[in-house]
Symmetry: C2
């Protein structure tokens, strides 16, 4: 490692015969400074490739120019591409503002990694990529650090800044379409009930029934189906009850459902129709193609990051932002 002594603000000041204060002002743009002086400083800096020491700046300003992004740490997450894309969106916006992303991984509700990062004051703000009905992350962060959630926060936590796709609306529309196509026996297979998004989707599902004047068959709602065995059992039960259409709350579940149906030689859409609430690459190569909802994860990340930036700068931000969705009808519900 060449120990190429880094040039400091003092070096610049000395070389130019001005004070460190002046150099600092020229760089930050804050405080009165002569136009000519500033230009001289800037030119010198440019030429000698001076880079301010962000750590020193951090200490002086009590700002880190880092955000923490809390990712879900469950290994079965197939909706991974969603988080990935979202992360890219965040990173893109953060980078423009010279912010960097510190990663925290949260398995279930284990927030020890987040706690350490906050205790060490390594970030100016936090983005939660997933919210729970009972959310230790939120409880921990409240009154402590500015933060924004991706996905809605439970009503139990008022005042939380949240950016979400309109899951309720999306699921309501998809369910309505299915009901209108005269599929009456619809099974809903979903994941962890403690995820807020599961609740939102479920609500949309119910509202669609209500709108159509139909009643939900509660025995066809399978939640917390977070492993293969459970999903397989749910499919079996649904088939026994002559299900018309199986609605999957995420693509991991859908992928398993498709496998199960294939093993049973149940034809889609001839025997049973299938749709998923989220379309990832996992289903992309499936035959038949699968009807699903489409969300722009990248945009979600970008909007979220921009909101957090506003928040830490002390600007007014909307408490809740809802992003649009698309329903993509494919062969599986023909």
């Amino acid at each position: 490692m060449e120990e190429q002594k880094n040039i400091t603000i003092a070096d610049v000041a000395e070389a130019l015969g001005v004070s460190k204060t002046t150099v600092s002002r020229a760089i930050s743009g804050k405080g009165r400074i002569g136009k000519e002086t500033r230009e001289r400083v800037l030119a010198y800096i440019e030429e000698h490739d001076y880079k301010p020491n962000v750590i020193a700046k951090s200490l002086a300003q009590s700002k880190t120019y880092n955000f923490c992004v809390v990712m879900p740490g469950e290994y079965d997450v197939v909706d991974l591409t969603f988080f990935q894309e979202c992360l890219f969106g965040i990173q893109e916006i953060a980078g423009i503002m010279e912010y960097d992303i510190l990663l925290s991984i949260c398995k279930k509700n284990d927030i020890s990694s987040l706690e350490r990062i906050i205790a060490n004051r390594k970030v100016d703000g936090v983005i939660l990529m997933r919210t729970f009905v009972e959310d230790d992350q939120i409880e921990f962060l409240q009154q402590k650090v500015p933060f924004v959630t991706i996905g809605s926060a439970s009503a139990a936590y008022p005042g939380v800044i949240q950016i979400d796709h309109n899951h309720k609306g999306a699921c309501k529309e998809l369910t309505s379409i299915i009901l209108m196509k005269q599929m009456k026996k619809v099974a809903l297979i979903g994941g962890d009930e403690n995820h807020v998004v599961t609740q939102s989707r479920l609500r949309g599902f119910r509202e669609a029934y209500q709108k159509m004047g139909e009643t939900v068959d509660e025995s066809m709602i399978f939640l917390n189906q977070d492993n293969h065995v459970l999903v397989d059992k749910a499919v079996e039960e649904a088939l026994e009850r002559k299900v018309d259409c199986i609605l999957c709350m995420d693509d991991a579940i859908c992928s398993r459902v498709l496998k199960n149906l294939r093993e049973r030689h149940v034809k889609i859409p001839a025997d049973v129709r299938v749709a998923s609430f989220y379309n990832s690459t996992v289903l992309e190569n499936n035959i038949p193609s699968i009807t699903s909802l489409k969300f722009d994860a990248r945009e979600l990340g970008m909007v979220t990051c921009r909101t957090l930036l506003d928040l830490v700068e002390g600007q007014e931000v909307k408490e809740r932002t809802l992003l649009p969705y698309e329903v993509v009808l494919k062969e599986s519900t023909k």
Copy 2:
């Protein structure tokens, strides 16, 4: 935000009637200090929940306690779970040592995000999650910051610390098995030639042929097949030439190959056999199950992080670490 004034080392010193030096020594464990004094300090700190300001520490020590992890930023990456798992492994080890992970995303060879992080001196070391035959990341980092690569580095960059799975060996073994099963016409479909891993796999493939005294049919090697159209064409050509077995270099390709064969009603393994060089969840639910290689991504991440820790602490580290693999034979090559 409650502005709960943080307690500093000076507060602790004053409360205890000792110097800041003493407090600092008690915490770090460096330098001579009376046992009793140390315990008194530690007890006070514990009780009052004093947390050192990492930023101040950073400035004083020129250490950040952050590592940068450079992730591939291509959106078509289906091997995502691999990077994800790997990241978890890194994070786990880093966390134990109170290090955090700063994320940099690198699309193709665009290293601007990495450059900024380094220029801002935000990290003590870097982990590259993917290497290229011509690698701007490596060229940029050399002689500048300690770094470790996941995956092998091109021979053009001697001295690079690299942790890798034994891709060459794994592919050699898998290919050998296939050849021994009397499948003579084997097509190899792979991705970006500029990825070192592609080269390693290819080498293993060739060595297997050599070992068996067979010659490779070059017209059956399809590289740089990084989009659906190309893969489809490769499959078509392979079928025309009466291929026995299609070997896919990654699961994104394999997934597409499977779709293509399904559309053509080509039966696996009856008409054609298929194997993949990596087994992700993407193929998990496929029928038939797919023969593939299995690597422990999490362990790879852990070993890599531990190596980087050693490196930044100035310890001697092995230049190259090769991790084992497993060949998992399934129905698709029966």
